[in-house]
């Protein structure tokens, strides 16, 4: 049966297969804007798909977006689906999105940890990590947000494979992480990276592994301030913002620190909402409100990137 991307139920949670099927539908509906590329395979050999939003050009400045690196944070994958659809639907209709995509490419990995996500649907809804086997331990998986080569193994990550913040045997040991590293390095023109988590209502930027302010701290902070203000204007959801180390605690080996240290100036990580009653079990009725309020904040960052080339 032929389906269209906008007939998908964005207000429900979906399995990995449903999300991967939907990606194909989105590509089919917007063939001149969206394509699907595979950047690698997960530990359990699932494809790692990225949606590429591009209106042409050659190796344009690009933005990397990812959701769902922690698999149990279901509202992030759901927000990823909604946001990707929004980008596609608004192109050619909304002047801001149109102008953005006329100059900037967006790469969007919606299910960054597919093994973990599939596992949350089949066996353990509260699984956070990858599903790789750890030599010498009966505990499975590595925290992919402690596995990056930026202060790898330092404070805020664990050397215990049974811990939820286990950093893994070495930096980029997880194919889910290595595939992104290889992709961003080989692209060479990624100007922003936004990694989306839940559920602490925060917008953060480097550094996480050290307390030293990033060289671009002031600009990143001002942009974060504007973004959370615009987010709050939608439903009044209050976010805190700042460097990871100042806002939560020292956390080594994170995505955004690696990106920043590898030349991606605009590196941010969102912690999307919860009202404090459900945590990772946020009811599906809150997917669209969450995605809707996140959109203006995301757009603030994207537009800033477009207007501040470097």
């Amino acid at each position: 049966m032929e389906r269209r991307a906008n007939q998908f139920n964005f207000a429900s949670y979906h399995t990995l297969e449903e999300i991967y099927d939907w990606m194909d539908t989105l590509v089919a509906d917007h063939p001149n804007l969206v394509s699907k590329i595979q950047i690698g395979e997960s530990y359990e050999k699932r494809p790692l798909y990225v949606l590429k939003f591009s209106t042409g050009g050659s190796n344009r400045p690009a933005v990397w977006l990812d959701t769902g690196i922690h698999s149990r944070e279901w509202v992030t994958q759901a927000t990823g689906v909604w946001t990707a659809n929004k980008l596609a639907e608004d192109y050619g209709h909304d002047p801001t999105v149109t102008s953005l995509l006329d100059t900037v490419d967006i790469f969007f990995e919606i299910v960054t940890n597919p093994d973990g996500y599939a596992f949350t649907h089949s066996s353990n809804r509260l699984w956070r990590k990858t599903r790789s086997i750890n030599a010498g331990s009966s505990c499975i998986g590595v925290d992919p947000n402690r596995n990056w080569d930026a202060g790898f193994g330092d404070a805020g990550s664990s050397s215990n494979p049974c811990s939820e913040t286990y950093h893994g045997p070495y930096a980029h040991s997880e194919s889910e992480v290595k595939s992104i590293v290889d992709f961003i390095k080989s692209h060479g023109n990624v100007k922003a990276l936004i990694s989306i988590h839940s559920y602490s209502q925060m917008l953060m930027f480097p550094y996480g592994y050290k307390r030293t302010p990033a060289p671009d701290h002031e600009e990143l902070n001002e942009l974060a301030k504007k973004a959370v203000s615009d987010l709050a204007a939608v439903y009044g959801t209050k976010y805190t913002y700042g460097s990871i180390a100042d806002t939560i605690y020292l956390a080594a080996g994170t995505t955004v620190d690696w990106a920043y240290e590898n030349g991606v100036k605009y590196s941010y990580t969102f912690e999307l909402r919860d009202t404090g009653r459900y945590g990772f079990l946020l009811p599906s009725s809150q997917i669209i409100p969450t995605a809707t309020e996140t959109w203006p904040a995301l757009l603030d960052i994207l537009v800033h990137v477009q207007q501040h080339p470097y």
Binding site: Y13, S122, C162, T247, I248, G276, L281, P283, S284
Partner: protein, 93 residues
Amino acid sequence: EQLFVGDQVLRVVASSEEQIALLRALGEQVELQVDFWRDPTKPGRPADLRVPFSRLQAVKIFLESHGISYSIMIEDVQQLLDEEKRTMMLSRR
């Protein structure tokens, strides 16, 4: 399939750096199987931890004996999971 019947999520508010250190130490005790959903960060900011039913008493005694205030954020994790599954099934139909 792992079930979470009777597991609770506790919302804990530490009032000092000392209490935050205690909470982090709690998380390091593998036998208690505490799963931090929201990590302890700063005094006054909430931390959320899922505690298996079989360890609830021990964890609550730990919190109370150190004067760390908490409330029950989720009474029974499995009930919420069942509800989530029902919603997905309905949506799929």
